[in-house]
């Protein structure tokens, strides 16, 4: 595909905002553990992965900028809450470390599959970025899977706590796959295989890992239970996060860093 027409451009921009906003918000959330992590080594690893997320979101905002949107800082820091397209999972407060780890596992597994799919996108700039992210995301999933195994098969209260975290995060994770209004356009033009296929692949990937860690998959009656984020309808947790994240930026918007 060489040039996108108007509707294709809108579809791609919507996709980029969804991915970048997820990464920005979860990157910010995970960075809240910096200095407070359970042990020094994990604190460093988790903070470093949070930085990776911010870096990846920046690359996607950059691409949006090249497609005619505002510059990355303006996109990240000046939009109103209902203009963000992140899913509810990434908005929730960090909670206990079990919650943050389980969210990291469920989200990053979806992200690994998403970027793997996008690596063959007909929209070459996005395919190129996706291939570049491959190694970073692979480490994130290795880290997450190792922890899930460790805690699921661990002694003491860890299996109970990590199961509880799964019960809380799993319904929220389904919101990752809320379809956009442009699914058909993305699929027809081979830009992206679509949220439905991503959801199926994700389920087939995470379930064996969770079962191997002796965890029970929660039964969710309403798969749309956590929908809304992709359309700008957010949880109560997003606004305070954005206010805090943009606090310094708002002091002097034109400051040179």
């Amino acid at each position: 595909m060489k040039d996108l027409n108007e509707i294709q451009t809108t579809a791609v921009k919507d996709l980029l905002y969804r991915i970048a906003d997820d990464q920005l918000i979860l990157g910010h959330r995970n960075s809240e553990w910096t200095g407070l992590g359970p042990i020094l080594e994990e604190d460093i690893a988790f903070s470093s992965m949070a930085q990776d997320k911010l870096g990846q979101s920046q690359a996607l905002y950059q691409l949006l900028n090249q497609m005619g949107e505002k510059d990355p800082d303006t996109l990240a820091f000046t939009r109103s809450v209902d203009e963000y397209k992140c899913c509810h999972l990434v908005e929730y407060p960090i909670g206990e470390y079990d919650f943050s780890l389980m969210r990291h596992f469920l989200f990053d597994m979806s992200e690994a599959i998403r970027f793997n799919m996008l690596a063959s996108s007909s929209f070459e700039p996005l395919a190129k970025i996706s291939r570049k992210f491959k190694g970073e995301i692979k480490y994130h999933t290795m880290h997450a899977i190792t922890w899930i195994n460790q805690l699921g098969k661990g002694a003491g209260d860890s299996p109970v706590r990590i199961q509880k975290a799964l019960d809380e995060c799993f319904p929220l994770a389904l919101g990752i796959f809320e379809p956009s209004d442009y699914e058909d356009i993305l699929i027809e033009n081979k830009i992206f295989f679509g949220e439905k296929e991503l959801h199926e692949k994700w389920y087939d990937t995470v379930v064996p890992v969770l079962k191997n860690a002796n965890l029970k998959i929660p039964e969710i009656k309403d798969p749309e239970i956590s929908y809304g984020g992709r359309k700008g309808k957010h949880t109560e947790y997003l606004k305070p996060l954005i206010d805090e994240m943009t606090e310094v930026y708002r002091i002097d918007k034109d400051a040179e860093w």
Partner: protein, 138 residues
């Protein structure tokens, strides 16, 4: 201190910090932390880093981990997040055999054994002679 001041201090029952993350935690001013017991400490692992395939692995430091799987995962961000790396080794510190500082005297005369170094050989002369002969023969 007036009675009014004492009252205002007593009404604050959680830590207020300039770091909003700390304030949010509503931490008690009186710490309620259990001291760490001996068995709560994880063991240490030694980390070796390789910058290029075929190069030797160099010791870069150590870290805490509960088992080898976690050690290798944590080692990546600890020791290989900034510089080029193609492979990491982790070895349980307990598995390292050491001569020990009690035996430090076995190395006492090492710095004096210059006669064991290759510096004494006059190899370059022979190489230059060989090159010269080769040049003449062609």
């Amino acid at each position: 201190m007036s009675d009014k001041n004492i009252k205002s201090i007593n009404t604050i029952n959680s830590i207020i910090s300039i770091d909003p993350r700390v304030t949010r935690e509503e931490l008690s001013i009186v710490p309620d932390v259990d001291p760490i017991k001996d068995l709560h400490h994880w063991q240490t692992y030694e980390v070796f880093h390789q910058t290029k395939k075929g190069d030797r692995h160099l010791h870069v430091g150590s870290l805490h981990a509960p088992n080898p799987e976690m050690a290798v995962i944590l080692a990546k961000e600890q020791f290989a997040r900034r510089y080029k790396c193609v492979n990491l080794w982790v070895v349980s510190t307990g598995d390292v055999i050491s001569t020990g500082y009690d035996n430090e005297d076995i190395f006492d005369t090492t710095p004096e054994k210059v006669y064991r170094e290759a510096g004494g050989y006059k190899v370059m002369e022979r190489i230059n002679k060989f090159k010269k002969e080769r040049k003449q023969s062609t």
